[in-house]
Every structure is written in structure tokens, then in C-alpha cells.
């Protein structure tokens, strides 16, 4: 258990960051991380060799997906108010604030699966192979989603309503 504490505890801030980026709601994200940690504690002896970081992100990601599915089944949407966003960027310097707000807005418009790849790779520093493991997809799919996510973020025109984006880019 000591061993677990040493290996897992330093990763909790990153888990919170990923959960918050996915759910965009502080309380919901922390609930998810708590659930993830409880699972990690009870399944610690079952984990395979390999990166503890990737293992924890797998647990967290699965929980998030389950929650998304439940929310969709109930016909409810995850909160998309920008309170979380404002809270996030308030710590930044004034001139950075608008830039951060803008990139978060664009990120929000990405399809869920592209957003997850981009966050795991670009923000959480998972290797492509680890990201593939977390998302249970081949590495090739990680690369193509990453590429699409990045291209799409570049092309996002500021102020375009999400509805229009779907109409413009819906055909693939």
C-alpha cells in the first residue's frame, strides 16, 4: 500500500486535469477522480506491468465514457456553461486569458474522441502507445485522430457557432 501511495499520489493533479477537461465541471470531475482512485486502490494488485500513469488514465477514461453514455441515455448534456473556463483562465495573465479562452472554446467543439486523444497526448504527455491503450484503439487511429484534431483546431474560425461547424465539416 505504501508503494501505491508513492506511485499514485503524484499523479492525482494530472488526473484531475484530464477529468476536468473532459467533463468541464469541477465537482463532477473530482467525483470521477475519486471513483478512479477507489478503483485503483481496490484493483492495485490486478494491474499489469507497465506505466501506472497509463493504467490510471485508462480507469479514469472508462469511467468518463460510462458517465457520458449514461448522460446521453438520459437525454441530458454535460454542462457546457463557461463557468469552468473562466475559473481556469482566471489565474493567467490578462493577455494570455483571451488566448486560453479561445483555445478552450475551440477544444470544446471537437468531437469527443478527438478531444480525448489531443488531451492525452498534448497535455498529459502520454506516449502514442499508452494513449492507444487508454482509448483501446490502434496507434494508427490515435495518429489519425490527433491529426484531425489539430487540423480542426487550426481551422476553427473564431465566433463560428458549433452548429455551423457541424454543417461545414459534417461531410467526411
Amino acid at each position: 500500500m505504501k508503494d501505491m501511495l508513492v506511485q499514485v499520489e503524484p499523479l492525482i493533479p494530472a488526473l484531475r486535469r484530464y477529468a476536468r477537461a473532459l467533463l468541464r465541471d469541477r465537482a463532477a470531475a473530482d467525483d470521477l477522480v475519486q471513483d478512479c482512485l477507489e478503483r485503483a486502490v481496490s484493483h492495485w494488485h490486478q494491474r499489469r506491468d507497465g506505466s501506472v500513469r497509463a493504467w490510471l488514465f485508462s480507469i479514469l477514461h472508462n469511467l468518463a465514457v460510462t458517465q457520458f453514455r449514461k448522460a446521453t441515455a438520459r437525454g441530458r448534456h454535460m454542462p457546457i456553461d463557461d463557468a469552468g473556463e473562466r475559473e481556469l483562465v482566471s489565474a493567467a495573465a490578462q493577455e494570455q486569458r483571451l488566448i486560453y479562452q479561445d483555445v478552450l472554446k475551440k477544444l470544446e467543439r471537437l468531437p469527443e474522441e478527438q478531444r480525448a486523444v489531443l488531451l492525452l497526448v498534448a497535455v498529459e504527455d502520454l506516449s502514442y502507445a499508452d494513449a492507444a491503450g487508454v482509448l483501446k484503439i490502434p496507434v494508427g487511429t490515435v495518429m489519425s485522430r490527433l491529426s484531425r484534431a489539430r487540423e480542426r483546431l487550426l481551422q476553427e474560425v473564431e465566433g463560428v457557432a458549433p452548429g455551423n461547424v457541424v454543417a461545414l465539416r459534417g461531410v467526411k
Partner: protein, 257 residues
């Protein structure tokens, strides 16, 4: 020397600093010669920095108390006690959602032990089926692991019934404690979210074969039977005539050949 062509994957790996030094140098020299591609790669890199910057404040926040890992480990150690308290409370209340079964029958094993098994299934249903957070310990996605675990603990090869023909998906399962040792519990649900519980464990009489018996306790109903010394029970909050064909299906699948 023939150089390997630069791929889109290389460009992303360049941005993510995931290339071997040698390959990184090759990509860098390619970018020197291709300003348009270099501009796109630079934009990706800027984007990456912006994303990291935007999310950076979160990791600086002090962790909320409920994410204190030492506390989670500590409460996990105590949790078996909590489960026992829940069972004790149910026994004392005697009724709860489970009605029908009295203390007397709880303490009295029937002539062949099936009534005890039926009771255990109803307790498990009462505790785990309403649980929206963690009804099962091992999920269906790890059903091989689940089978291995419960077979080891029951010292019997246990087969997880497949109820998809009846419209029920396996959610997963767990080991549950009974006064006759460990039992394997499997939970299923359908598209309406209706949940079924199958509970199985070895009977004291290792040769016991019985017909299928209906059972019901309040709004939890089902069937119980034994095959080759293994007891089985299916319970749910559905009418008996709906459960009967499902119980038959389970019996067909689990029956020793």
C-alpha cells in the same frame, strides 16, 4: 543514402517531442526546406503550448479532501466492515425491500438448503441491484478475469451464463459472502435498466439435483435449483412467467454435461 520519407506522423511526433534524436534531426532539416509545412508544424506547437497553459492552473490547485489517497486507502480497509453492518441491519430490520422472508427462515436452512440460497440471492439483489455506482466489482469487459476469480474461490469451474437471447446483457459480477461460504453473483440488465441477479455456490450436498422451484419475497421473485451439487438462483423484480424462460436458459447453459 536513401532517407525515409517524412510522414504526417513524424510531424506530430516532432511537435510532441516523441522522436528519436536522429529522426528529429531529419524532420528538422526537412522543415528548413519546406516553409509551408514548417508553418503548420509551428502552429501545432503553439496550439499545444496554449492547451497546456490553459489547463496548467488545475494541477496547482490544492487537492480537495476527498481525493486524499491515504484516506481512500484507509476507508477501503474498513469497507468490509461496512458491508457486514449493512447485512446485519437488513437482518435486524428483517423486512426492508425484501419483505416475506422472516428471521426464522433466515436462520433455518431448508431440507436441501435451497431456501438459504434463495435468501442469499435476495439479499444480494437488495444490496447490489439498486447500486448505481458500483453494482459489480468486475465488469463484463473483464469477464475472463471474473470467471477465473470466482472459479478459484468456489473451487469449481463456474460458467457465466449468457442471457443475450433473453435481451439481458452481463454487467459483471462479484464474490458475495454467505453463511455457506463464498458465492458468485452475476448481474445483468436490459435496455430498460431492469436488473437481474444470478447467484451460484456449491451446496453442502455435493450431489444435489433438484427441480426448479419458484421463490418470491416481496417484489423480488425468481427461481432456485441445484445441478450436480451446485446451487443456482435467478432473482429480479419481474413476474415469474417472465423469469421462468430465463431461468431455463441459465439451467441449460450451466448444466454439467
Amino acid at each position: 543514402m536513401n532517407r525515409r520519407p517524412i510522414t504526417e506522423d513524424d510531424l506530430h511526433a516532432y511537435v510532441d517531442q516523441a522522436l528519436e534524436p536522429e529522426r528529429r534531426a531529419e524532420v528538422a532539416s526537412y522543415l528548413d526546406d519546406h516553409q509551408d509545412v514548417a508553418a503548420r508544424v509551428a502552429a501545432f506547437a503553439t496550439q499545444r503550448e496554449q492547451l497546456r497553459g490553459a489547463f496548467a492552473p488545475i494541477v496547482e490547485e490544492p487537492l480537495p479532501a476527498e481525493l486524499n489517497l491515504s484516506h481512500i486507502i484507509e476507508s477501503r480497509r474498513r469497507s468490509p466492515m461496512r458491508a457486514w453492518w449493512a447485512i446485519a441491519a437488513m437482518l435486524l430490520l428483517g423486512i426492508g425491500g425484501l419483505g416475506g422472508w422472516t428471521m426464522r427462515s433466515a436462520l433455518q436452512e431448508g431440507s436441501n438448503g435451497l431456501s438459504a440460497l434463495a435468501q442469499e440471492a435476495a439479499y444480494s439483489y437488495g444490496v447490489y441491484a439498486p447500486d448505481r455506482v458500483r453494482p459489480v466489482e468486475i465488469r463484463a469487459s473483464e469477464s475472463a478475469e471474473l470467471t477465473r476469480w470466482v472459479s478459484n474461490r468456489l473451487k469449481q469451474p463456474v460458467k457465466v451464463p449468457d442471457l443475450s437471447v433473453s435481451g439481458y446483457r452481463l454487467m459483471g459480477g462479484r464474490l458475495v459472502a454467505t453463511s455457506h461460504g463464498p458465492a458468485a453473483m452475476f448481474m445483468y440488465d436490459d435496455d430498460h435498466g431492469d436488473r437481474l441477479v444470478v447467484l451460484t455456490r456449491p451446496m453442502s450436498n455435493r450431489n444435489l439435483d433438484t427441480p426448479m422451484m419458484p421463490q418470491s419475497t416481496g417484489d423480488v421473485a425468481g427461481f432456485v435449483w441445484a445441478d450436480g451439487g451446485m446451487g443456482y438462483t435467478l432473482v429480479g423484480q419481474l413476474p415469474g412467467d417472465t423469469l421462468k424462460p430465463i431461468a431455463n436458459e441459465i439451467r441449460k447453459q450451466t448444466r454439467p454435461i
